[in-house]
Symmetry: C2
Subunit: 369 residues, 2 copies
């Protein structure tokens, strides 16, 4: 047998800019055109965003082909939506020199990122997130993905955007529930990385809820700073990036078991409580934080009750099929204290016995926390 | 407006090994297990390969979950096949720690590579090509992709394998047409990179057609060497890698217009003739090579007649939608001489007026070459 070695060349370091401001949506297309040297553009958005007037403000009379995802929300984050969009792009005769713009929340961003990653082997994507979740989380970091008929993010790729534009004025059109539940990702960032930021959120929640531009821009900056730092260190989630999954393992399971009747933010809030229960079971003192969290989530009107039809066994089954599972059981991110993730033997996600997780879920479902 | 810069870290250089030999299929799984540290495996193959006995020989009694693509061939290289496979992998409870093995021709390899690229944001893939096309071409270089209902490789990614195993004994089970037409990619490699290799192919064609192991291993090595050198220099097809598309722009159009009744090899042979006609039109002396090519393709029983129902306008229309198109017209790879691609102003693919391409296609369709 003879062997030939094929070298896969290094990909050099790159970078992209997150621009944060208020009320500048109508200047973004011009900035993108300069940045991407007049590539043909294609906009992905959804009916909610279009109805809110953001699409019109963004395009300001210029003609850019557009796909409006309908129905909006998680239910459309499916491979079937991707095939529809790609066929439309082909009909628009867009070649591999085009670029995709995501205007909207996590769903539009995740779909657009994945479409860009796989369209004709990859075209650039620019994110313009318009929700509290997507401005805090999903537009940064290059994770893209859509669901199969069986599970969340069965399809996906790591694919970094060419730019991100965060206009906090777009948050004004969100309803209270969507606005508030999206703040859970900000709380998560504070919990895993910055106790001062957690303090800021606790003290300034009224101004944030009142959607004042200054605190909104402030939290956008904190979120981007925290997430970017983690992603820069571990872009493909080999280890440290896993800390961003705090509250997400059980959160995703609850979200999935509810058939997405629970919002992502509500599910993650429940997942954060579950993580806290596990922490307490392991003897990491976190009772004080549990009280702070219950108060914070309470002010945001986030219901921490898991729907009664969801049972422990079902959640454990979903967890065993988590995409991060190794030997059919995922690792869990836990806090050492507010602002600091527990790092054990160099690992930012820990192996936790199924028994402990089962007990924690029982407590969660019975609301005994 | 405030700006935050996100660094996308460099991805370091990697490498993978192509092992070339004869009759060692039954030792490959053990080698993969060592290489990938016992990751759960999933095999993708097709009914032809299974019928030929290669799947049985590969697995040799070990139980590895498997998807057998049916019907075999280009028609299954569609996003719908990908969704079917991914749902099967989910049902097998395969996590992101699994790896995909492609056993078969270009279709199995392209599908498996794409599935691996997008399954749970990416798992390793190992190629075991079993056809002349895939051993020469598609298993090396990291191009993956599947078709939409509108065009070829509308979906795709650049995704390098973890290893490639080329067992030339698997070629024994191919029918004559498939074996011969697959040699067109070897001829293409010789044309773009190595006049001595072109000479070898001309002189040793009988032994190759007789499927003697020694010349088959020799051409496998030449093909891998040539393709690897190009891919190493330009993995994402920014420029030099385009030379591998010699004969493919018009070839793909003919293949597509024939609704894939023409084999890929036959279509590329026709595309190579078309490229030669364009070269002659541009005053690059290539008449002698045209005669050599006609003789070579003749010995391989490759029909250079474009089906009568295909018209020039249809081909031009398909070419304008080529995924490499910029402003709706692709660049064309041409030869300066046998073994050397024409490089103009640092570009390995040239802008050619539509008028010249139209005239060349007219000559091609009327068989006036």
């Amino acid at each position: 047998m003879q062997k030939i070695e094929v070298k896969v060349p290094a990909v050099p370091q790159g970078s992209y800019t997150i621009a944060i401001g208020a009320d500048f949506l109508d200047s973004i297309i011009a900035q993108i055109k300069t940045l991407l040297r007049d590539k043909p553009l294609f906009i992905l958005t959804d009916t909610n965003v279009a109805k809110a007037g953001h699409l019109e403000k963004l395009t300001a009379g210029t003609k850019i082909p557009c796909h409006i995802i309908t129905p909006p929300g998680e239910i459309s984050k499916h491979i079937a939506t991707v095939t529809k969009i790609i066929e439309q792009m082909e009909k628009e005769a867009l070649g591999r020199d085009c670029a995709v713009i995501a205007l909207g929340g996590g769903t539009a961003g995740d779909i657009a990122g994945f479409v860009a990653a796989i369209y004709k082997r990859g075209v650039p994507v620019v994110h313009i997130p318009t929700t509290t979740v997507s401005q805090a989380d999903s537009s940064i970091g290059g994770k893209t993905g859509v669901d199969s008929s069986i599970s969340k993010n069965a399809y996906g790729a790591f694919y970094h955007p060419s730019a991100v534009f965060i206009d906090v004025a777009t948050l004004k059109t969100l309803d209270e529930k969507q606005f508030n539940s999206g703040l859970v990702e900000s709380i998560k960032h504070a919990l895993i990385a910055d106790a001062d930021y957690f303090d800021y959120l606790t003290k300034n929640l009224e101004d944030i809820i009142a959607r004042k531009y200054e605190p909104l821009e402030y939290i956008a900056r904190q979120n981007c700073r925290i997430k970017a730092a983690v992603v820069e260190e571990d872009p493909c989630e080999k280890n440290k990036r896993r800390m961003l999954n705090y509250g997400h393992t059980i959160g995703h399971a609850v979200e999935s078991a509810s058939e997405y009747k629970l919002s992502h933010g509500q599910a993650v809030a429940i997942g954060i409580i579950a993580a806290n229960i596990i922490e307490q079971k392991l003897g990491i003192d976190s009772k004080k934080r549990l009280d702070e969290l219950k108060q914070l989530f309470g002010k945001l009107n986030i219901n921490l009750q898991v729907p009664a039809n969801i049972k422990t066994g079902e959640l454990l089954d979903i967890i065993s099929r988590d995409k991060k599972a190794v030997n059919k059981w995922p690792r869990f991110v836990l806090l050492e204290k507010t602002g600091k993730v527990l790092c054990k033997d160099g690992q930012w996600a820990c192996q936790i016995e199924q028994k402990i997780v089962r007990e924690a879920i029982d407590i969660l479902l019975k609301q005994q926390f």
